[in-house]
């Protein structure tokens, strides 16, 4: 396996045969070729190695949910070996004891052609050292016998920096047993004998690190691993001797698992909000199916239905040898009394919404809500199911119309302008479709360019000519001043595109009877909307904003 590093192809890893012949990880490929003429090389991508590392870790969750990647020597480093740390407390009896678990793991790894070494000890660091530096490929240290097992190992088994290992080597301390035999105080002093202050400081940290590693290995200092997956509140797993593959058998397994998990959740007075079904394939791949609910639930039927909807896209390969169910998020269940008359109260939440969001995505189902804003694109918000269900219902209908009428009163308080526009102080209807982006129209210059508080006579939009027959408006809508960079002056067309802009909106109808919502903005910063007579100072810019009909 080779990787490219700084324009040089170097050997990333070599198989035992190649190593025996002289090819070493880290060598340039040309050097390795010179040593081993028959060398066959494969170029690999570090990202792919990383992915494979992760995938293997996910596969390992078949033994325990707490699996962490070992950061000490990542496989993406040249010559690095992929390491995993598993916390198997309480899990090993399922595999015939600790020995059985290790043997099973290593055998399965060998079956895929991966030479694996595994060790089990009281602490992660001790197991790490045993696996990397121990004699046997599979080592299981019984509880409480960590120290005797560590004694004969070289100091590198403590995962120490190279400088420390060198320093210890100079002192003749080559085995862990040698260090343990020393007095802790003496060890610290031995290192601080150096002369300069800087060196002394370095030495202190070195000795501190050494002592800390020793304590971690012997369990005198707590050592935590960072598992890939958050620990589930409730979980169950089922292993099979013969792989299963049919949809019916998978669903039956899920039913069995739910029978184990749901009573636990129920006993805690909780309901499932988020669950995950993990399917372990024989070839080592794992597939997770997430189930989300907007209300805590304990109904096996709902879980099963959501699951079976997602099994269409399921690829079980050569079959599954384990299936797990874990509850990631559980919430207190509000018990409600079943009413005698079904359908008596139309509830806002229904499992149908769960089914829609699980398949289409959480953002796909939304409820439109109005906000107190004049700018039409700011005036409404689409709330996801979760938010919509959390907000209480209010009587909103009519509010927005009243508001826009109030806005008219304020903005067009000048009676002259109001008379010119022929405004009745009444709520203006809004278009049923608001275009995602305002779409500019072309205005035929041969026609008199209308300006002021009037729409053009005709315009060209979407490759069609529109001659206007009727119009009403304008309605001046301003973005909220507290959202604008220049405050209450508002923003006009000269502002950057992304900002909301004050516009005059017109409701127009063309000769075919289609009604549009058009808007006008002016580019002049001094008199953005023209003078009293409605003559625009700059050239007005017209857009189509929405469709009424």
């Amino acid at each position: 396996m080779t990787v490219e590093r700084r324009n040089l192809v170097i050997v990333h890893d070599a198989n035992p045969v190649a190593r025996a012949a002289g090819a070493q990880p880290g060598q340039p490929l040309t050097d390795a070729r010179a040593l081993v003429p028959g060398l066959r090389s494969v170029s690999v991508d570090p990202a792919r190695i990383e992915r494979a590392w992760q995938a293997t870790a996910h596969w390992l969750t078949r033994y325990t949910p707490l699996v962490a990647l070992d950061p000490a020597s990542p496989p993406t480093d040249v010559g690095g070996a992929a390491g995993f740390v598993l916390d198997v407390s309480g899990c090993s009896h399922l595999f015939g004891g600790e020995q059985g678990l290790l043997r099973d793991l290593v055998e399965r790894m060998h079956a895929w052609g991966l030479p694996a070494r595994a060790a089990m000890a009281d602490t992660p660091l001790a197991a790490w050292g045993l696996a990397r530096c121990g004699d046997a490929p599979v080592q299981c240290v019984p509880a409480g016998e960590t120290l005797p097992a560590l004694r004969p190992l070289p100091v590198t088994a403590l995962n120490l920096p190279d400088a420390t290992v060198e320093a210890l080597d100079r002192l003749g301390l080559r085995r862990i047993g040698d260090i343990v035999a020393l007095d802790r105080q003496a060890l610290g002093q031995r290192f601080s004998e150096k002369l300069t202050r800087k060196q002394a400081e370095q030495a202190r940290t070195t000795s501190e690190r050494l002592l800390e590693a020793l304590d971690r290995a012997l369990g005198k200092r707590p050592d935590a691993i960072t598992p890939l997956l958050p620990a589930a509140s409730y979980a169950a797993r089922k292993l099979f001797h013969e792989p299963i593959g049919t949809a019916a058998s998978i669903e039956q397994t899920l039913v069995d698992l739910m029978a184990a998990v749901l009573p636990m959740v129920r006993r805690a007075g909780q309901g499932v909000r988020q669950a995950m079904v993990s399917l372990y394939r024989v070839d080592g791949a794992r597939q997770d199916i997430r189930l989300r609910f907007h209300r805590p639930t304990l109904e096996p039927g709902l879980l099963l239905r959501l699951f079976s909807e997602q099994t269409e896209t399921l690829d079980v390969g050569f079959g599954l040898d384990a299936v797990g169910l874990s509850v990631q998020r559980a919430e207190t269940m509000q018990e409600s009394q079943d009413s005698l008359l079904s359908h008596s109260v139309p509830g806002r939440h229904h499992p149908v919404l769960d089914r829609l969001t699980n398949r289409l995505g959480a953002e796909a189902v939304a409820q439109p809500t109005l906000r107190p804003r004049h700018d039409p694109r700011e005036a409404e918000l689409r709330q996801s199911v979760e938010n919509a269900l959390a907000t209480p219902l209010t009587a909103v209908v009519g509010v927005s119309q009243q508001r826009s009428a109030a806005a008219l009163d304020q903005d067009l308080g000048d009676p002259e302008i109001a008379a010119q526009a022929g405004l009745r102080r009444q709520a203006q209807p809004r278009p049923v479709i608001l275009l995602a982006e305002p779409q500019p129209v072309q205005i035929d210059d041969a026609q008199p360019l209308t300006s002021g508080l009037r729409p053009p006579h005709q315009f060209h939009w979407r490759r069609q000519h529109h001659r206007l027959v009727r119009w009403s408006g304008p309605e001046r809508l301003t973005p909220a001043w507290w959202d604008c960079p220049n405050g209450h002056l508002g923003t006009y067309a000269s502002s950057p595109r992304s900002l909301p802009v004050t516009k005059d909106y017109f409701h127009v109808e063309d000769e075919e009877g289609r009604q549009f919502w058009m808007a006008r903005t002016c580019s002049s910063p001094t008199a953005p909307f023209g003078d009293r007579t409605g003559q625009a100072a700059g050239r007005p810019h017209w857009t189509v904003e929405g469709l009424f009909a």
Partner: protein
Amino acid sequence: MSTPPSGAPDHTLESLRALIAQVERRPAPKLSRPVAEQQDHQRALPFEVADIDAALQGGMEYDVLQEVLPARTEWDDGLTTAFSASLLARRQQEDQRLNPGQNQPAPLFWIAQHDTAGAGLSAQGLVSLGLDPQALWLVNVRNDAEALWAFEEVLDHPDALGVVCEVCHLELAQSHRLNLKAAHTAREDRGRLLLALRRHKGARRPQANPTAAATRWRLASIPPHLLAPNGRGKGRAGTPELRRPARDAAALSLGPQDAGAAIHPSLQEASADFAAGGPAPSAHALTPPPAHHPMRQVRWRAEMFRQRGGSPASWLLEWSYETHRFRRLSELCAVGSATPE
């Protein structure tokens, strides 16, 4: 040629219809229903326009697919959206009339695709049309298959009042499947208005292929010059300008399939009335500037080109932004001078 005895064919037809209804799990075929039962508004949404409700035998039937098609595909997004939203608003009104004092509105569903016009549905616009958006769930899907899947799922909601589903392509079998599911999940006390809103997706346009919808509507805009006589239009109606009404009527006819043929007599009357004295659309030089006039309604030429167990018909129809009611435009026409302007 052996003609069966009179009376016998009626009986055969009735029993066959009953059999079909049984197979389709639907209530009772319309034609054999007694007149008194046809007034049962629980099973249909009345337009509250006498002619239309009579032609539909009570209104838009609940729990069976209804289909809305645009006449000019790319340009009628607004028209078809407004029509569907108006019908949903009508459905909400009916619900409030029948179940007053509900503390929360019953849910409505609008299934839109990310590239169809419904993605831009505006809550403010819905409020203008009289629909309470708090009850509305917008479901955003990626394609026709997902839209139909979502439609079927939503039918499981026991409290839904109405569903609008935007699809481009709808097969006969798919629509039949939806009808079966709807009949299966129907509730006695609450009817659902089910609309399939046919949309174009980019260049792909909906075809008017046969579907199992109970009624199929094609909506077009009404050129305003047909509706706004120049004040003295009535006086000119008698002058021998016979060509123009005919042409305008033809202009109103939609699509190549039914050019001229599907024009309902009432529409021909209406357009004849409106067109008399209206400005000629080709006279560009003489075009008056657009008039400043508030537009307080959405108008459609609504052509019901297929009705199961009934005959097709078409109407000029409007929905008011103020009263939130349907109105037939020929009534306006009869009033004459009462038309706006």
